[in-house]
């Protein structure tokens, strides 16, 4: 039995400079076919067999190390040209099997890589401090101020119900505002992008932040327009700062969000 498995990082159409990333892992090798290069590495079966994976994928320390390596290798390749990043982990039992896959999808990969040339993926996550947003809404909204006056002039019983009404009213407007601000931000950024994508929101257990994620998005941006794109992020951040919004902008990333799915 082979003790090693072939691990696929990405596919590129430019001759890869593997020596620049050799310090990350020394087992990298390009498997080429018709102008395409699959950047692959060898991994141990006792780490990456289906059985081993089911255990390792529950081990955060293991995932941290491996996902980080996955990312760093692809970033290294990305410096020379476009890449199609593969989902972590994509594995083959032999180089032959990988080559077969590469041949089968070669045309699709080539077209896709051409489309990605000169473009970068940027990520925008927006978080909202709900207390800050509610306070901003109270400052701006007359109806809420009117309720305040009523509360002060009411008996304790009535004041209790009015307070509940006010909270309900605030929740509704906060939801509306979050949707409005998110849409505005997404639209403004989309206009500076080639493609845009909205992803699942991550819960606080995952983000480990106090505030709520209200938009998780990714943009494919022309390299020549990155400055304009970042400037818009900066402007949106200033525009919505008082409403409790915080923009988290990261990039450039391999185009994980802009690769066609296999049918």
């Amino acid at each position: 039995m082979e003790k090693e498995i072939i691990y696929l990082y990405c596919v590129t159409d430019k001759t890869p400079a593997l020596k620049d990333i050799a310090h990350l892992t020394n087992k990298l090798r390009p498997i080429s076919y018709n102008g395409l290069y699959a950047i692959a590495g060898k991994v141990k079966k006792d780490e990456f067999s289906v059985q081993a994976l089911s255990k390792n994928l529950a081990n955060l320390r293991w995932i941290k190390a491996k996902a980080n390596l996955h990312e760093k290798v692809i970033e290294g390749i990305m410096k020379k040209g476009s890449v199609i990043p593969f989902k972590f982990p994509t594995l083959f039992n032999s180089e032959d099997n990988l080559k077969k896959m590469l041949k089968k999808h070669a045309q699709k990969f080539q077209v896709h890589l051409k489309g990605l040339a000169g473009k970068e993926e940027w990520g925008i996550k927006i978080y909202c401090d709900m207390d800050k947003l509610r306070k901003a809404l109270i400052r701006e909204d007359k109806e809420s101020l009117n309720i305040d006056k009523e509360i002060n002039a009411s008996t304790p019983g009535k004041a209790y119900f009015l307070k509940k009404k006010k909270l309900g009213f605030l929740d509704t407007s906060a939801r509306k505002k979050i949707s409005e601000y998110g849409q505005d931000s997404f639209d403004s950024l989309s206009r500076q992008s080639v493609k845009a994508q909205i992803n699942k929101l991550l819960p606080k257990e995952v983000t480990e932040r106090e505030d709520d994620m209200v938009l998780n998005s990714a943009f494919l941006v022309d390299k020549k327009r990155i400055k304009e794109f970042i400037k818009i992020v900066y402007n949106l951040n200033s525009k919505y700062k008082d409403k409790g919004l915080e923009f988290n902008c990261t990039g450039p990333w391999p185009p994980y969000n802009f690769c066609e799915k296999d049918e």
Binding site: I63, K64, N68, I198, L215, D262
Partner: protein, 88 residues
């Protein structure tokens, strides 16, 4: 002091000129990497196919308190109402 821009290369300088905070937090990086490399990226059947449920285990691992994929699904439904998100 709230815009976080993470950039490799010259972009950092550009943003610094706008008096912004550049945070290079390792945790942010990890969250971002997992949100991409495990959730996205092209899926071509290799010889080993990892199911979505297994991937969810990663998120579970991020905060060891959670014990089942079902809990994760519940959490996924929990984010704030009104916000836009990818349909599940």
């Amino acid at each position: 002091m709230s815009l976080i821009v993470q950039a490799h290369g010259h972009l950092i300088i550009f943003v610094k000129k706008m008096n912004d905070v550049i945070a290079k937090s390792k945790d942010i990086t990890l969250l971002e990497i997992l949100d991409r490399a495990l959730e996205k990226g092209i899926v071509i059947s290799g010889d080993v196919v990892i199911s979505v449920a297994d991937v969810d285990l990663v998120y579970l691992g991020l905060k060891v308190l959670l014990s089942s994929v079902e809990t994760m699904e519940n959490l996924r439904g929990a984010p704030i109402e009104g916000a836009m998100q990818e349909p599940t």
